[in-house]
């Protein structure tokens, strides 16, 4: 008897020990929004992270000088109320809004802007060693100096003119952090960020939830939700079940197979929106037979993009005619996607001296950021190409291996995607297709080179007038249509599903998740 009591006591003690210190959640509140993420954020300093989930949370806390409009990626004032661009395109001067404070009470000013950017690009900066800034070179490699002219004026001096600089200043890496908080928290700043955004960082229970609380003195408008809780729920079925049973209010990244079920569900609203993304099948343009543009055109005709979007993606993709997002300022509206025309494909292959087709390999990652359903999509492409005599061997690989292998330049064909997060054509066409960006130096993994196209893109970087840039980009897209570097497949249609009590939410084409516009019924 004594012994039994000992064991039950021990068991109870163990249970108490394991559950002690468990986070006590705040009382259920009508103004708490619970968001289900596909994966847990890695860290919350947008300058130090590269994944979507971290950015979606972190960007509620910090803000940028210029921002995207509510429903497009057109650039509008953010923390800067106005800006001027020097005639030579080498200096950008921002006038900052006055009277804004960081969540820790310190003032937002030109010094804070200087600090936020310099900590990433200047190895001597006291905050440089406090974090790793993976995209410092990509975004700010062209910045020569950041000058605080006075309390509310800051000037960026560039090494060479770059018309997309404003678009770069909307990136997460360009967010303005509280210098006081960043220095005080040191390496831990990335898990306890302080900015000027609509929500303040409150708590992070690892593996369970990130809690943000309303910034009641937000400068732009009063935030209507008191608290946002982000929960990582990786398994699709679990995320869906939680939404349908009220455990979550909003989920993003609905798997294609669930779309139809959610579209007609009485308890939830499904929202769709085309994101600034492109999914493509790259050719190695330096290898035979892909060095012949007739072959590349033929394969564009051979693939049934509509079927992929309809049957595999279940409507979560929009057929693409090129890298630029349709219906944005740089889009060449006169172009149409390559129609599905196997007959024409065969004819073009015959003209190129390949009447009986050829054999090749296609590298496909099993999954990856922005890759949608890579293996299923590639399998359809494989069978489409087989129908015109091109025998494709699929080689699937794990994401990290895949990216590393693409640097070997040994690829024939490969499936890849690009999330520019902005409609500025420079941010998708230049890195992916300009010949100065050939892998391994840059992301032009198709090793595409078209001299006229190169010239047009370079020229478009030098003019700051948007209408003139648009004209140049339209020409660039016509060149790509005639001399295609890839098989153009689709732009991702992002989805969000949310309960009926969520009001005022809009998916944003930049893939950001702007929960600050939400009110709860």
């Amino acid at each position: 008897m004594k012994r039994r009591r000992f064991w039950s006591g021990a068991a109870l003690a163990l249970l108490v020990a394991l559950t002690a210190g468990a986070p006590i959640a705040p009382a259920q509140s009508a103004s708490t929004l619970v968001v289900g993420l596909v994966a847990e954020p890695v860290a919350l300093d947008p300058a130090q992270v590269t994944d979507l989930n971290s950015n979606r949370v972190g960007r509620r806390v910090v803000e940028t000088l210029v921002a995207f409009a509510d429903e497009s990626t057109q650039i509008v004032p953010g923390l800067a109320e106005s800006w001027t661009i020097a005639r030579d395109g080498l200096a950008y001067t921002f006038k900052l809004r006055k009277g804004i404070a960081f969540h820790d009470g310190t003032p937002f000013n030109a010094q804070a802007v200087k600090f936020s950017i310099e900590r990433q690009i200047n190895p001597e900066h006291p905050a440089n060693k406090l974090g790793k800034y993976p995209f410092a070179a990509y975004f700010f490699g062209n910045v020569k100096a950041v000058e605080a002219m006075d309390e509310a004026t800051v000037r960026f001096i560039l090494k060479e003119p770059r018309a997309s600089f404003l678009a770069i200043m909307t990136a997460g890496a360009a967010s303005i952090v509280s210098p006081t908080a960043a220095m005080k928290s040191g390496q831990d700043y990335a898990v306890s960020p302080v900015g000027t955004g609509p929500f303040k960082f409150a708590a992070w229970d690892r593996g369970q939830r990130v809690v943000l609380e309303k910034n009641s003195s937000y400068w732009r408008y009063p935030v209507k939700v008191d608290r946002v809780i982000y929960r990582p729920v990786t398994e699709d079925q679990a995320r869906l079940t939680e939404l349908l049973t009220g455990g979550l209010d909003l989920i993003v990244g609905t798997p294609p197979d669930f779309v139809a079920q959610l579209e007609n569900h009485p308890k939830v609203t499904l929202q769709k929106q085309v994101g600034a993304h492109v999914w493509y099948l790259g050719f190695n343009n330096t290898k035979k037979p892909f060095d012949d543009k007739r072959v590349r055109q033929a394969l564009n005709y051979a693939v049934n993009k509509e079927a992929i979007v309809r049957d595999v993606l279940k409507g979560t993709g929009a057929v693409s005619k090129g890298p630029v997002l349709p219906k944005t300022w740089g889009d060449e509206g006169g172009l149409k996607p390559f129609p599905y025309d196997p007959e024409r494909a065969r004819k073009l292959l015959a003209e190129a001296g390949l009447p009986s087709g050829f054999s090749t390999t296609l590298w496909v990652p099993e999954s990856g950021s922005g890759m949608q359903s890579p293996v299923a999509m590639s399998t359809i492409i494989q069978s489409n190409l087989k129908a015109v005599g091109v025998n494709v061997t699929l080689q699937t690989m794990e994401w990290g291996t895949f990216l590393a292998k693409l640097r070997t330049k040994e690829q024939d064909m490969f499936a890849l995607s690009w999330m520019a997060g902005s409609e500025d054509p420079d941010l998708v066409m230049y890195p992916l297709l300009h010949s100065s960006q050939w892998t391994p130096v840059g992301p032009n993994r198709a090793m595409y080179k078209n001299t006229r196209f190169d010239e047009v893109l370079a020229q478009a970087r030098l003019v700051t007038d948007q209408a003139k840039r648009a004209e140049l980009y339209r020409e660039a897209q016509r060149l790509l249509h005639d001399d295609p570097p890839w098989i153009f497949i689709d732009h991702e249609v992002q989805t969000a599903a949310f309960s009926k009590r969520v009001q005022g939410f809009k998916l944003h084409p930049s893939f950001d998740l702007r929960v600050e516009t939400i009110s709860l019924k």
């Binding site: 394991l18 070179a137 608290r227 079940t241 990856g368 994401w399 130096v441």
Partner: protein
């Protein structure tokens, strides 16, 4: 006993050293590079090499191992590559959730398995016995992630009795009741396979023992059947069961990875999966070391338990 324990504890060193070498090599020699994965398709060669250098990944492998091991010996498991947080803290925070899940599953499978085994053995070929046989085959041949999804759809989506994921409700939760509700589905999912194995084993050993002479003697003494089975036969039948329970504890720790992923249980398994996908070497190495340590201790505990169950067993 004391010397035996000391010897076993001394053996821990080489075992953990071996584990560390194997994990280190498997991770570092498998293709895929943490810098490449972190930076994604937008990375330039320059970005990748800069990050590799900053992470110390451009050094020769033996150097990297020695440096890491040097820190480990001082109790520092390093910093996670992606999260930049100290690995030890991350692993220990998450391990509590894994331990709770595994311990509950072990308890469920042991108590459930032994009970089923005893019921089947004491009435062979009865309805209970047949049902338990069918259930066992079903339970043993079902992948845990599938069972998890089925349970989730039934009990969360259709019936609405239990929450589908997490450890606590995101808001309004936090109590013991909330925890137990969240624990139920993952623990049952994890316990299912082990429970069937333990049930089958207990049944067959107990059937053997019930045919032995001392059981006949006990019955001849006029003991009630309950006492014969539970006090005399079961205690002797438990030795192989305890061995299997020890092994199952290890399987449960490993199997927890899948269960945790399905139910978004904030344990070391979900942490490790993220770590593996990102090639977060220090994080995965830290997780495996801690799991290995617990596994070794579990086996030691099982060995010591033999002596408690069977007084004839002595450790010299």
């Amino acid at each position: 006993m004391g010397r035996y324990l000391l010897r076993r504890l001394l053996l821990l060193g080489p075992v953990l050293l071996g584990v560390s070498v194997v994990v280190f090599l498997v991770l570092h020699l498998s293709p895929g590079d943490p810098a490449e994965i972190m930076l994604g398709p937008q990375a330039t060669q320059e970005d990748v090499s800069r990050l590799r250098a900053a992470l110390g990944l451009d050094e020769p492998l033996p150097m990297q191992y020695v440096r890491w091991m040097g820190h480990v010996l001082q109790g520092d498991l390093g910093r996670s590559i992606r999260m930049r947080q100290p690995v030890l803290g991350e692993v220990l925070t998450r391990f509590r959730a894994t331990l709770l899940l595994t311990a509950t599953a072990l308890l469920l499978s042991t108590v459930g398995g032994v009970t089923l085994g005893v019921l089947s053995a004491s009435r062979p070929n009865s309805l209970v016995d047949r049902l338990s046989t069918v259930g066992s085959i079903f339970g043993a041949s079902m992948p845990s992630f599938w069972l998890g999804l089925v349970l989730m759809v039934c009990f969360s989506l259709w019936l609405g009795w239990l929450p589908a994921s997490g450890m606590y409700a995101a808001h309004g939760g936090g109590g013991l009741g909330d925890l137990l509700a969240h624990l139920a589905l993952p623990a049952i999912t994890l316990a299912a396979a082990s429970m069937t194995i333990i049930a089958r084993l207990t049944r067959s050993t107990l059937l053997d023992i019930l045919r032995q002479d001392f059981v006949r003697t006990a019955r001849a003494k006029g003991l009630v059947e309950r006492a014969v089975v539970l006090r005399h036969a079961l205690r002797n039948a438990l030795i192989p069961t305890v061995t299997v329970v020890g092994v199952q504890a290890g399987y449960l720790l490993g199997g927890a990875i899948f269960t945790e992923t399905v139910f978004a249980w904030p344990g070391v398994g979900t942490l490790m999966i993220q770590g593996i996908l990102a090639r977060d070497f220090p994080l995965v190495q830290g997780c495996v070391l801690v799991i290995a340590l617990v596994f070794v201790f579990f086996n030691l505990a099982v060995d010591l338990l033999y002596a408690v169950l069977d007084p004839r067993i002595r450790y010299e």
